[in-house]
Amino acid sequence: MMQNAIEFIGVSKRLVKGERATSLRDLLSGNIGRLLGKGRLVNPDAFWALKGLNLEVKSGEAVGIIGENGAGKTTMLKLIAGIMKPNEGELKVSGRVASLIELGAGFHPDLTGRENIYLCGSIMGMKTAAIKEAFSSIVSFAGIEEFLDTPVKRYSMGMFVRLGFSVAMHLDTDIMLIDEVLAVGDLNFQAKCRDALDRFKESGKTIVFVSHDLGSVLSLCSKVVWLSKGKIMEAGEPQKVVNAYIAYSEKTAEGSLKLSRDNAWSAGYNPGNAVKEPRGLAVSFEGEVYAASMQGHCVAVFSPEGKLLRSIGAAGIGEGKLYSPAGVALSGSALFVSDVSGASVQKFNRDGTYLGSFRGEFAEPFGLCLSGKGGLIVTDRKLHRVFELSTDGRVIRSFGGKGSGSGEFNFPIAAVLDGKGFLYVSDLNNHRVQVFDAERNFAGSFGSFGSGPEEFNGPHDLVIRENVLFVADHLNSRVKRYDLSEVPGKPSFTGAFGLERSMLPCGIAFGPGRELYLSFGGTELIGKYFTGEKI
């Protein structure tokens, strides 16, 4: 039976988010509150970074810790290192600990490499004699022979980090804590680090290794712990834990909802109904996301967390069937869906019950938006016209026609109404957005082809939130913002959010919070973005 090098017994650690009370005023106001009998004031920003952690690390074991940012990985290392103490539970550590929580933390920029090796070594608890002995090995491992007498402020980042790692690798300790440091230096140095760690491991020392690089974790560690929100989700055989973590994080990838066909399938839905070529998006007040899945032949409904709740519409053409759904609009409990191939706009209940369809005069209805009067506005990309429907589906009026002049369209793909009755229609092949007043007279247009700040390359969906118009600039991979509050019907450009080059936004919608959803053409992805306090 091997001895435990580290043992967590029900360890919990409370931390405070953001700025702590570091001024006397906070202290005084806090204590006055207490004096006035408000009881023990609990800091509202405090949270459990670790909660009830139980873990044994055998001596000589290499344990990998994985988990999303803020899972508590670094806190765990800091507890082991003795930098923090647990609030609850007990932590037993036997042996001397070296922490590589940050490389070169002990370096002083004005001191030379040589001076820093001594300083850093003694900060990490090495005796001068030991540093002297290891000195030449430290220098050659870091490869900084020529720069020994140069102040480290003149070092490159790579040299700095190499030196930090090198000093740490020469510490004579029993337990080594490593936080996300292998991703530094060139490949050659990384290989050296790997070798050094392997040797460290072979010499029977204990390693606790925190990394997002799952490959390094798998190759180094004999045990992996997956932390999430301060708790252990799974621990044990590396490959098994890493697989479970990957499966989990694909579902809840930070900042974007990643919805793959497999997830839909595993959720028990018709695989043909999975999100495929998503287009229009709509979000209910409860935060349910309705995504028109153009090649999935349905409208997929997701929870705000990205869980597939249901899919609406059976594949096909005809009543209650969807073949190429493109636009969606929510009105109360009703969901309108435009089907390009079916040349229809269908109406469903939000639970998926088919309620009816409007066929009217359109050929390839694409964009949908609610009109102020309870009806619908439909853009037809084949007829190059915009239709306004009454509540019962009658065409009240239509306007447009193919062309590039004022009031003419070439692939009108989406429309949106602002609070003052102005209608904005994105014109895909003319690379512009046209504005129409409440009487649908042409009121202006903006944008032209290009990749400049105020130019478009295939503008897609539009959305208005808090008097700001957002346009998905499809082939430019960005979302543009226009302020609508100045002159009615005259949007003024206020900037753009850039996306990854390969992400081509189509649909765009806001959730009840300020979260922005985008659907990406050519993919099976819907992204969720947080826009912050202010839009």
Binding site: L15, V16, R20, T22, S23, L24, R25, L27, K78, A81, G82, I83, M84, K85, V97, S99, I101, E102, A105, G106, H108, D110, L111, E115, Y118, L119, S122, I123, M124, G125, K127, T128
Partner: protein, 260 residues
């Protein structure tokens, strides 16, 4: 307490290295280098001598006024300089405090001890000046080590408390900046301090720096400590401060990383 001292002892090499670092860095890239250590007490001495010989005559007994001021300033700057560099020392080294474990006492202690070099130089200059003013060397000088140990104990204790206080509440630095100026004028640095007011005298009795600096002057100029009782009291205060500082620091040390 014992554990804390043991730990500091274990890391004595680091303490030495930090002191070296502080001293090395202080005069790096300066033209006059270490000469700055005597330059500022010297200029202050000239200014005060000028002011107090022209506008307000101060009676300093047997001690020539320039030497009175110079010795006072030398001892005072050891105290105030040590404290001003130790108050922010934990905050300034936050990356180390949050990332590596070692006894954090070494930071304020090194800040205090690294000022000793400046002081030794100032002291050396004082000894050079003595004969010029007709002051003779006496056996009273043997008291100097004792007096310095008392002053260092008091300074180190305060340094531990203040650096820690500043880590938790950044107001401490600002309060310290004002208090240290007032404190100088409430100490016999540039004039012998005494008041006709009973209350103020009692208040001044609480200031251990007065007997310490008086003892220093006594040892240098008058052959020994003239008033041993206040000095004994000051020594008691000094060591109580040091032990309180060490104990409290050790007790709260584990909070530093999360509260900084």
């Amino acid at each position: 307490m014992k554990k804390s001292l043991q730990e500091i002892w274990q890391y004595r090499e680091l303490l030495g290295r930090l002191i070296n670092r502080d001293i090395g860095l202080r005069y790096k890239q300066t033209l006059l280098g270490i000469a700055w250590a005597v330059f500022s007490p010297l200029t202050m001495t000239l200014i005060f001598t000028f002011v107090f010989s022209r506008f307000a005559v101060v009676k300093t007994g047997a001690i020539p006024y320039p030497l009175f001021v110079y010795s006072g300033l030398a001892a005072w700057s050891l105290f105030s300089g040590s404290l001003s560099s130790s108050v922010p020392v934990l905050v300034n080294n936050s990356s180390l405090v949050t990332k590596v474990y070692f006894p954090r006492e070494v930071f304020p202690l090194s800040a205090v001890l690294s000022k000793l070099l400046d002081f030794s130089l100032a002291l050396a200059l004082l000894f050079i000046l003595l004969p010029f003013f007709g002051v003779r060397f006496t056996f009273g000088l043997l008291w100097l080590p004792v007096i310095f140990i008392v002053q260092l104990a008091f300074t180190a204790g305060l340094a531990l408390l203040l650096s820690m206080g500043n880590l938790f509440y950044r107001d401490v630095k600002y309060i310290f900046d004002s208090v240290i100026t007032i404190w100088m004028f409430a100490t016999s640095v540039i004039y012998p301090i005494k008041s006709s007011n009973h209350f103020i005298n009692n208040l001044l009795a609480l200031n251990p720096l007065i007997p310490i600096i008086d003892a220093f002057r006594g040892a240098v100029f008058e052959g020994g400590i003239l008033n041993p009782v206040p000095f004994l009291l000051a020594s008691a205060i000094a060591f109580i401060t040091l032990f309180a500082g060490l104990a409290l620091f050790h007790k709260l040390e584990y909070l530093f990383a999360e509260r900084i």
